[in-house]
């Protein structure tokens, strides 16, 4: 049984988290479980099933929305047992300290799930209004793999550049998307089905490109990990299968952080995704050849 990806969405109240979730659920062709503090706007009128540690509301299209009523770790285990989702998204309230959740995911839950991406929604307009970055805001930015600079309709491109520069001082490794109303392609942000970009609900012009690598050679694990750690900033996601030393793995890479999970395969098959991925394609493929 492969581990289930779990992504975290954080951001201040009013930054656009709920809008983002609605967009994700609208476009999703995977079974997603959204875990939130309360059902709120997502599961209006849904029938709610009360479990021991979690309450689950079924949404149209097979996805579910859940609210935790017991201990976090137990709730996630119960969710997986009952629903078996393909992706779990945790929506933290505008104020919670999400650091703690990350820690639970990486320690007590590490047999079942892996941290896919921490996505932080930054309200660009709010960022200009309040020049001092608050404590919670800072924590949210620090932990992000992906930052959505949202409400781009309310700021100019040059203002957005300034904000990005400031945010990068706190977190230099995160990957940026600039959005209006959190409109972003579900497949792009989660790296699903990238080979097939004919997705539904396509509103935003996607500047992300992708390429893939395939081979049958076994690579040296230490060399491959060195390669991963040095991936250029153009690549925000890489996923697929790899043959390392005597074993084979499932690879998940997001903005500098990666996970290798044992997985049966006889092929190296990696997809690289990012803004300007095309430009670094040759270089990356060349380095990969040296990992053998």
């Amino acid at each position: 049984m492969t581990k289930i990806p779990i992504s975290i969405i954080t951001g201040y109240l009013g930054s656009g988290k709920t809008t983002l979730l609605k967009n994700i659920l609208k476009d999703a062709d995977k079974k997603i479980a959204v875990v939130m503090n309360e059902f709120g706007e997502i599961a209006v009128d849904s029938k709610i099933i009360k479990g021991k540690n979690i309450e689950i509301a079924e949404l149209s299209g097979g996805c579910v929305c859940c609210s935790i009523s017991g201990e976090f770790g137990l709730a996630i285990k119960e969710l997986i047992r009952k629903v078996r989702p393909e992706l779990i998204i945790l929506e933290t309230t505008g104020v919670a300290d999400p650091e703690n959740l990350v820690d639970d995911i990486q320690t007590t839950l590490s047999d079942l799930v892996f941290l896919d991406a921490a996505i932080t929604v930054v309200d660009a307009d709010g960022f200009l209004k309040f020049p001092s970055i608050g404590h919670t805001g800072r924590v949210q930015i620090e932990m992000a793999d992906i930052i959505l600079l949202n409400k781009m309709d309310l700021v100019s491109e040059s203002q957005a550049d300034e904000i990005e520069l400031k945010v990068k001082q706190i977190n230099p490794k995160a990957y940026f998307f600039r959005t209006r109303n959190c409109e972003i392609d579900f497949h792009t942000i989660f790296g699903f089905n990238v080979g097939n970009k004919q997705t539904k609900g396509h509103k935003q012009h996607i500047t992300e490109s992708w390429f893939s690598y395939e081979s049958k050679f076994r690579m040296v694990r230490s060399k491959f990990e060195t390669f991963l750690k040095a991936l250029p900033k153009e690549i925000f996601r890489a996923k697929g299968f790899v043959l390392l030393d005597e074993k084979s793995y499932l690879l998940q890479y997001v903005a500098g952080r990666y996970e290798l999970e044992p997985f049966k395969t006889d092929l190296n098959q990696i997809v690289f995704i990012g803004n300007g991925a095309d430009n670094v394609k040759d270089k990356i493929l060349r380095v990969l050849e040296h990992c053998h």
Binding site: E38, D97, T108, K129, G134
Partner: protein, 486 residues
């Protein structure tokens, strides 16, 4: 970190950041701490306390107590008093866990009496006082009933048989803030708090059985007045707040304030976490009324927990709580904003005093201090880390003169929760503590690691700074022997 040049030493325990430090500061910021404690503070504390100093109507200084560290908007350990007529009220200055606070109870048992029953006592306390993130209590209430609870606070608990009448007299504001108005509280907040009466919650919340060793009594007369009368006396201290209810009240009004602050009232702030509204505005008054419901919910919560603790002791020691003399010493709030009167430039003024991770510390003679303690000053219950112990202090006139009647509330973190979990392992910590005579039981080992003594400042240094600055006086220090970790 060495103390930066912009932090000026006023005396050994008072440090000041002048208004010239940052555009928009209305008053200087003051940190009450020893040199060493200031050195342990991070840059964010300076940034936050000076952001607070820009808020409209702020009087004298924006303060940070010796246990200060960075928090949501205000530093934790922040004290700010605004003119009630012209100033603002800010949820960031109260905190999300409204009236997170401490309660201390004495017994007539001594350490030898409980030694043979330690395990049994711990297991039963753990069972009867639910802990953990989503913990729910034994009190089942309808939304309508719960609205009554948040309206009248601990009084509701007493009326329903959860405690003694004298408990109320020994609670800040007698456990029932008169400024509460449940009609200002959202249904969502009610829904989140409904089944949480009588529960500890998680994070830094705990219940401890402690011992007052004779060598740790600093002032025998006041200790006696507070009920610490015999060597190695057993006391119970616990720390918890308004759970999901207070959190939702804060969230609701932060949202409201962010919408009206600039468009309606023309208030510009540096950090959105300091969202505020004029205290006298409809929004400000509504938040004040709802926040006081949070205060009452928390007083009721601690009252029900006290009732459960008495039941546990009765069952383990086969004696009534009265026979065990399980009297409440006091109950103090940490996260509040209160209307209090102070002399400013020779005139008495009504102020809205924000205390965020700070304790009220009224001195002898203050009419707000219960009659039985008025001669000595208000009891201040200061919770240290679970490894190092806690303190019972007395409020002072000095606090009323220097810090709007406020002092520290705990030891104050030096390490983030994540960092603490990297440094310490819960299982190991539990064993180490057991070897030192502290039995601990927890819902979560990572949660236990977060609370390691090493993640906190030295509580003794914090208390010493408070005493030397004149904002409270040491009465007795208390050593933990049992800990239920939330």
């Amino acid at each position: 970190m060495p103390i930066p040049d912009f932090v000026k030493r006023i005396n050994d325990y008072v440090w000041e950041i002048p208004v010239s430090y940052k555009d928009g500061m209305r008053v200087p910021a003051r940190i009450i701490a020893s040199k060493k404690l200031v050195e342990e503070m991070d840059m964010q504390v300076y940034d936050q306390v000076t952001n607070v100093a820009t808020l409209p109507g702020l009087q004298k200084y924006a303060y940070c107590m010796p246990d200060g560290h960075s928090g949501y908007g205000f530093p934790i350990g922040g004290v700010a008093a605004m003119d009630a007529e012209t100033g603002v009220i800010s949820p960031g200055g109260v905190g999300f866990d409204i009236n997170c606070g401490m309660r201390l109870v004495t017994t007539n048992l001594n350490y030898d009496d409980i030694k043979p029953r330690m395990k049994e006592l711990l297991d039963m306390l753990f069972k009867k006082v639910p802990a953990g993130v989503g913990s729910t209590g034994f009190v089942k209430l309808t939304p309508q009933k719960f609205r009554e609870v948040v309206q009248i606070g601990a009084k509701w608990a007493i009326e329903n048989g959860y405690g003694w009448k004298e408990d109320l007299e020994r609670t800040e504001e007698e456990g029932c803030s008169k400024f509460a108005d449940q009609t200002k509280v959202s249904d969502k907040a009610i829904a989140r708090g409904l089944d949480q009466i009588g529960t500890l919650g998680s994070g830094n919340h705990y219940l401890e059985v402690q011992v007052a060793k004779p060598e740790n009594v600093f002032d025998k007369e006041i200790a006696k007045a507070y009920g610490i009368t015999q060597p190695n006396q057993v006391v119970i201290m616990f720390h918890c707040g308004s759970r999901g209810f207070g959190h939702q009240v804060a969230t609701d009004y932060l949202n409201t304030f962010l919408k009206v602050m600039e468009p309606k009232y023309g208030i510009k702030i540096l950090d959105r976490e300091l969202a505020c509204a004029p205290f006298k505005s409809p929004e400000g008054q509504d938040y004040f009324a709802a926040m006081n419901c949070g205060l009452n919910m928390s007083f009721a919560n601690r009252q029900v927990i006290l009732h459960r603790i008495r039941e546990v002791f009765e069952s383990v020691f086969k004696k009534s709580a009265e026979d065990l003399e399980m009297r409440q010493v006091y109950d103090v709030a940490h996260n509040t904003a209160k209307l209090e009167k102070y002399e400013i430039d020779g005139k008495m003024k009504e102020l809205i005093v924000h205390r965020k991770g700070a304790t009220r510390a009224f001195g002898p003679g203050n009419p707000e201090v219960p009659k039985i303690y008025r001669k000595y000053g208000q009891p201040v219950i200061l919770g240290g880390s679970m490894e190092t112990g806690s303190y019972l202090l007395a409020g002072t006139k000095g606090a009323e003169e220097l810090t709007f009647g406020s002092t520290a509330h705990g030891s104050g973190r030096t390490m983030s929760r994540t960092q603490a979990k990297r440094e310490f392992r819960g299982e190991v910590l539990q064993k180490q503590m057991e070897a030192r005579g502290i039995l601990v039981k927890t819902m979560s080992y990572p949660g236990l690691a977060e609370e390691a003594g090493g993640a906190y400042k030295d509580v003794h240094a914090v208390v010493e700074a408070c005493e030397n600055a004149g904002i409270s006086k040491r009465v007795v220090s208390l050593v933990p022997v049992l800990n239920v970790k939330g």
